[in-house]
Amino acid sequence: MEIQSCVTILNEWDIVAARQLGRNVAKELGFGTVDQARITTAISELARNIYLYAGQGQLCIERLHEQSKTGLRIIALDKGPGIADIRKVMEDGFSTSGGLGAGLPGVRRLMDDFKIDSNPGEGTDIRAIKWLR
């Protein structure tokens, strides 16, 4: 069973809306405050990437119920310029926004599962899951 809700990212305030959506779902699924903070940080990071590099896109939250597991999936979709060298952006220390800890590798570490698909000129599709423990 998967229920999905989305926020369209156009400006910086939409990042807040995406965070709010993620927090509500996380709370409802029973995530603790630390995991809630991690999930919203991941959402912030992904939504910010859309806002900064793609201009616009969608951030969706899915509730996951699989056998005995419950989780939350963040989906970040855009039709922006895409990423030519995915391996490079997944490297630590490589970040266009600068500073320690920014970027996609950080998001991957905050979540339990992370998938990225991107083609230059076609956009980017990132899916990250956090399971409830």
Binding site: G32, T33, V34, A37, R38, T40, T41, D92, G93, G99, L100, G101, A102, P105, G106, R109, L110
Partner: protein, 336 residues
């Protein structure tokens, strides 16, 4: 026992104890906790959450506003946690790279390995120490029967991995020179063409090549912009520069290298080095060639290998054990 399972309890007792005593001992317990927590990679946001739940247990009557303020702290510390994890991951990546370079350095040592020939009438000592893990200096001996001992010493401008990679090429270029072409000016001429064709324009190599004829005791040599060596005349006790003119390898395809000669008598020495020896920087600036000569003089009656070892140790100490450039020193002493 799993630290994670017991940390809540431990944290609670540390805080409780400190609130009662406000002692240094109590703070020390906190420091010990942080050490364990770091070992277990407990992130900052988890510590904030510990603090919040501890306070909720110890002082549940605190006003709502205090609990709300924790949300901000948690949010901020999650950002720090983000950076903390990246730091962890960069550390392990650094270790990986270190291991890889170490392996590369071993491979290089094997690739560039040369043994110091033992020849009747000639006492040879050589030492080469890289500033970082990989060596951009290179020396090589070839013994040609009873006829001659050939010595090459080279230095890539630059150090570290790029320099080391370059050197492997020089070694193989030299190995593939035909047997009859051990004449110093011919060797440098052909290496120059190899370097010019194969190496990046920004990289240059200096090299000294010498052929010591055992029967006549004449050193034939040529240099491609290499740091001049010394010739020590035992009769007069004087050191003079082994001057030779020649362009660095890789600058000009058509460069030619003049061959020079030096007759060597019993007790005389040939001293070859890389600029890591003369550009050894001390508190007072670069050491002078005269200083180096005085060091050699201090040990002049020792076997050649001991002289170079001693000089290396002394210069290493002079630089507070921080080599800034690769260091190579060779001494050849005629004994009879």
């Amino acid at each position: 026992m799993d630290f994670r399972k017991t940390m809540e309890e431990k944290y609670l007792s540390i805080v409780k104890h400190y609130i009662q005593t406000q002692s240094e001992q109590g703070l020390y317990a906190g420091q010990q906790f942080s050490r364990r927590a770091l070992e277990q990679k407990i992130s900052p946001e988890e510590v904030i959450s510990l603090q919040k739940s501890t306070m909720q247990e110890l002082m549940p009557e605190l006003p709502e506003e205090v609990w709300h303020s924790y949300d901000i702290l948690l949010e901020i510390m999650t950002g720090y946690g983000f950076a903390f994890r990246e730091h962890q991951s960069l550390l392990s990546k650094q270790q990986e790279l270190k291991n890889e370079i170490e392996i590369a350095a071993n491979v290089q040592e094997t690739l560039l390995g040369t043994s110091i020939p033992s020849v009747e009438g000639l006492d040879i000592g050589a030492i080469s120490v890289p500033a970082k893990q990989m060596n951009g200096d290179y020396f090589h001996f070839v013994q040609d029967g009873n006829h001659s001992v050939n010595v090459a010493i080279a230095d890539v401008i630059g150090k570290g991995i790029p320099a080391a990679l370059c050197m492997s090429m020089i070694k193989y270029a030299m190995d593939s020179l035909p047997e009859y072409r051990k004449d110093p000016s011919a060797v440098l001429g052909s290496l120059n063409r190899v370097v010019e064709q194969n190496i990046d324009d920004s990289m240059f190599i200096t090299m000294f090549y010498g052929m010591y004829e055992l029967r006549s005791n004449i050193l034939h040599f040529a240099s491609a912009g290499h740091e001049p060596g010394f010739f020590y005349c035992s009769k007069t006790g004087e050191f003079k520069d082994l001057k030779a003119r020649g362009l660095l390898l890789g600058v000009d395809k058509g460069a030619s290298y003049k061959r020079y000669e030096q007759f060597v008598e019993v007790g005389d020495m040939i001293i070859l080095m890389s600029d890591g020896v003369t550009e050894c920087r001390t508190d007072k600036g670069f050491i002078e060639r005269e200083t180096l000569i005085s060091y050699i003089n201090n040990h002049i009656f020792l076997p050649a290998q001991e002289i170079v070892n001693n000089i290396y140790r002394e210069l290493e100490r002079l630089q507070h054990f921080q080599l800034r450039d690769d260091f190579t020193l060779i001494i050849m002493k005629r004994t009879n």
